[in-house]
């Protein structure tokens, strides 16, 4: 009964989405308030229906109802409750349902909180949003219905893929989807603006909060995915330039560019056409990401199933939306009036440079990700484009961008003073140079490592310089500086945090890649091995039983300079339901660095293959992403940008009668 209820709710949601895609749009053209008002009701009702549908699926999983095909395929009665819950989106059908759930959440949020958006724009936005929703409802109902029943209910499920039985997977997909799908709102706003043929600075202000929310979630989602890969896959890598990673990274790059160009549009009424194009491109890349991951053209942990129908269906959605929106853009964009002028050396100019580098870097990732697919389709040759390609294309471009980052916030709008800004950045440059010298001379590391540290220091200190300058920290007395700091717009703090986060991540990347060391050895009980300053002793093995697995754990005592500092217990788990296993690495955190031990196979004579890594500063990689997200959140809390923020209080105060 429950699965049928969920299925039925989904069909109703489709019907509502179809109404919502036509009626409010027609109402907006006719300026009919009643017809436009339909959008709010349908968006909220749609959200409620999808929520019911999702809840129905969750309850099927939690109650282990194996008569439902997807539950049978991906769950097991002995699995811990948390994983029964997360296996809802640990498969194709469920994750698509999560996709539309988030889509309808965003639609509902616009309907509920977009009170200050002009009625016609809001109605059009919700209509466009409903087109996307309708397309995906049809996709789910036609090709990936999560509620399909099996004729004979099996007694036990097939279990979730063991490497997905992890807490990281409880967080990573919803976060990533919030990011991907969040950009649908920006897309809807862009398409609505094109339909209306009118766009101004206020548009940028309405769009910015949605873009920020999506960007924050995407940042955290990508970081979470990278962290998950790092500790689960057992080889200690945190980024592999795998197509599925790129699929999430490309929207992030385009979305970051969008955040910056929307800023120019909001403040200076310039770059309008470009911002619209970026909004369309960002969501298009999210759709391409969904296509790459879900269609099965790539082999990876994300390609749950390879049903060609689904791939073709998503491809059709892709062509329809990307092609349609770009055609609309080509047709309507010339109608949009161009705005403010600016000199090349100015805040606007710096943001244009930022956009240029971000989009071009995104394009190189795009080429590297899709070239193998295109080549195979055209010539049949199978190739793989690996990490070296991305290191040599994305790397240099991003380095140039990072060098420019500290200049941006210090330049004035309209016309900036490059010489003055360079002088103000002197401290940052000196610190960067000291960093380079220390790394090169004292540590004797290659130029690349030194350069990386220098750039990271420049970005971090440069971002701090902006705050110091604005508060007059060294010039004014301390209490005044503190008061000024409190009075700074939150968005200024947001920018500083986001840029600092970037530097912190870079520092982590450089530390891990340039200072890291690893050792792969075969060990027996009592054997000792050392790596950097650490000595590891193989104490012994033990067998343990988990709820739905058995594990072989190896105990190591770790010593530094002869002093024991802890015990590490990596293990190998085997899951009988799927006759497969996972490697559980043991991690020991020392400051921002980690020691990483994972197990390989066991040989007949009792020796165990062991991988030991020392990963200096590795935690900074993800910490930086968290700092970036905090920056985004600070910017989001800026009064000026708050969703549905009332008009400034000053205006109202002026109207109050004198007492």
């Amino acid at each position: 009964m429950i699965p049928e209820l969920g299925h039925f709710a989904l069909v109703l949601a489709l019907a509502l989405a179809l109404v919502q895609s036509i009626v409010p749009l027609y109402g907006a053209r006719r300026r009919d308030a009643v017809l436009m008002g339909v959008a709010d009701t349908t968006a909220l009702a749609q959200f409620a229906l999808v929520a019911v549908s999702f809840a129905a699926l969750v309850s099927c999983y939690v109650m282990s109802d194996f008569s439902v095909a997807t539950v049978f395929e991906n769950s097991h009665s002995q699995m811990p409750l948390i994983y029964k819950f997360t296996s809802v989106w640990g498969n194709h059908e469920g994750s698509m349902l999560l996709w539309v759930l988030i889509l309808s959440v965003f639609g509902g949020l616009v309907a509920a909180f977009g009170r200050n958006i002009p009625a016609t724009l809001k109605a059009t936005v919700l209509s466009v949003q409903a087109w996307v929703a309708a397309a995906f409802f049809i996709f789910i109902l036609a090709t990936s219905n999560p509620f399909l029943r099996l004729p004979n209910a099996p007694f036990e499920g097939r279990d979730l893929n063991p490497i997905l039985q992890d807490f990281g997977l409880a967080v990573h997909p919803p976060m990533l989807y919030l990011g991907y799908v969040g950009f649908s709102i920006t897309f809807s706003f862009a398409v609505a603006a094109l339909i209306e043929g009118r766009i101004d600075a206020a548009w940028a202000r309405w769009v910015r909060p949605w873009t920020l929310i999506a960007w924050i979630c995407l940042t955290l989602g990508i970081a979470m995915g990278s962290f998950w890969a790092y500790y689960t896959l057992g080889w200690g890598g945190w980024w592999y330039w795998d197509p599925v990673e790129n699929a999430s990274f490309m929207p992030w790059l385009a979305g970051t560019a969008l955040l910056h160009s929307a800023l120019v549009m909001e403040k200076r009424d310039a770059l309008k056409v470009w911002t619209i194009l970026l909004a369309i491109l960002t969501f298009s890349l999210s759709l391409i990401g969904t296509f790459l991951v879900r269609s099965g053209v790539l082999t990876s942990v994300h390609a749950f199933a390879t049903d060609p129908m689904r791939g073709i269906f998503i491809l059709a959605i892709l062509v329809l939306f990307i092609g349609g929106s770009l055609s609309l853009f080509a047709w309507r964009a010339p109608l949009l009036k161009q705005g403010g002028l600016f000199a090349p050396i100015s805040r606007e100019g710096a943001l244009v440079l930022n956009n240029l580098f971000l989009t071009v870097a995104c394009a190189t990732v795009f080429v590297g990700t899709l070239y193998p697919l295109a080549l195979e389709a055209l010539t049949g040759a199978k190739i793989s484009v690996g990490a070296p390609y991305f290191d040599w294309t994305f790397g240099p471009l991003f380095c140039l961008l990072l060098l420019a980052v500290p200049f941006g916030p210090l330049l004035a709008w309209k016309r900036g003073d490059l010489k003055g800004v360079t002088q103000r950045l002197a401290a940052a440059m000196v610190i960067a140079l000291i960093g380079i010298t220390v790394v090169c001379v004292v540590e004797g590391k290659p130029v690349l490592a030194a350069f990386g540290v220098g750039v990271a220091a420049f970005v971090i200190v440069g971002a701090l310089t902006d705050i110091v300058e604005r508060t007059g920290l060294w010039r004014a007395p301390f209490p005044i500086a503190v008061r000024r700091a409190a009075g700074l717009p939150r968005s200024a703090w947001g920018a500083a945090f986001a840029h600092i986060g970037l530097g912190v991540t870079l520092l982590g990347v450089v530390g891990e890649t340039q200072w890291g060391s690893e050792q792969i050895v075969s060990l027996r009980q009592g054997d000792k091995v050392s790596l950097r300053h650490y000595d590891f002793t193989f104490d012994g093995t033990s067998m343990r039983n988990g709820p739905n697995y058995k594990e072989l754990a190896v105990k190591f005592t770790v010593r530094r300079n002869g002093e024991p500092i802890g015990v590490m217990e990596p293990s190998k788990r085997s899951f009988p339901a799927r006759e497969s296993g996972t490697t559980e690495a043991a991690l020991m955190t020392r400051g921002f660095s980690q020691i990483y031990v994972s197990l390989g196979d066991t040989t007949a004579d009792g020796a165990v293959a062991v991988r030991i890594y020392h990963k200096p500063l590795v935690l900074l990689i993800w910490l930086g992403a968290v700092v970036m997200a905090i920056g985004g959140a600070l910017s989001l809390s800026d009064r000026r940008l708050r969703v549905g923020a009332p008009k400034p209080a000053r205006a109202r105060a002026a109207l109050q009668p004198a007492e």
């Binding site: 194709h92 090349p344 190189t364 080429v367 199978k382 793989s384 471009l397 792969i520 075969s522």
Partner: protein
């Protein structure tokens, strides 16, 4: 600066960055592309020693020999030809006899394949796509495999 000059500055900056990117992309694509080969391709095409290639196929049952210092040798087949692969390191969790595997490395002058990376699947139910295609080409795509992938898609009659 006039409006024209400003536009010119903007466009030339754009062209410069795009040119840089295009140069980087082309040079990187030339150097870092790795071609995929089936064991048949590898034996028939005479890949020059030292070229990086990917080799995909099924691990021949009984061919895995584990030596000292984590050295391991195994054979990979597409049903037609088999190629010996040597590798030093830890094999992935899902590396088994009779299962699909993709390894990356170079052919040494003796004709043996020296792998530095061995990739198995993330999930025991799916075959790497390249391997499946190579098997189909040789006509060794047994129904058993498609039955496995069939059940994985969740398509019930």
């Amino acid at each position: 600066m006039t409006r024209k000059q400003r536009r010119l500055a903007l466009i030339s900056a754009g062209v410069a960055v795009l040119g840089l990117a295009a140069g980087l992309v082309l040079s990187a694509l030339k150097d870092s592309i790795v071609f995929f080969n089936s064991p048949t391709d590898l034996t028939e095409k005479h890949v020059a020693p030292g070229t990086r290639v990917r080799l995909g196929g099924l691990v021949v049952p009984g061919s895995i020999v584990k030596g000292k210092d984590l050295n391991v040798r195994f054979e990979v087949t597409d049903g037609n030809k088999a190629v010996a692969v040597s590798y030093q390191g830890i094999l992935p969790d899902l590396f088994r006899e009779g299962q699909g595997v993709v390894s990356e490395g170079v052919v040494d002058p003796s004709g043996a394949f020296k792998a530095d990376t061995v990739l198995a699947k993330h999930d025991e139910r799916y075959m790497p796509k390249e391997v499946a295609d190579a098997l189909k080409k040789q006509g060794h795509w047994v129904d058993e495999y498609s039955a496995k992938t069939g059940s994985a898609t969740g398509n019930k009659p």
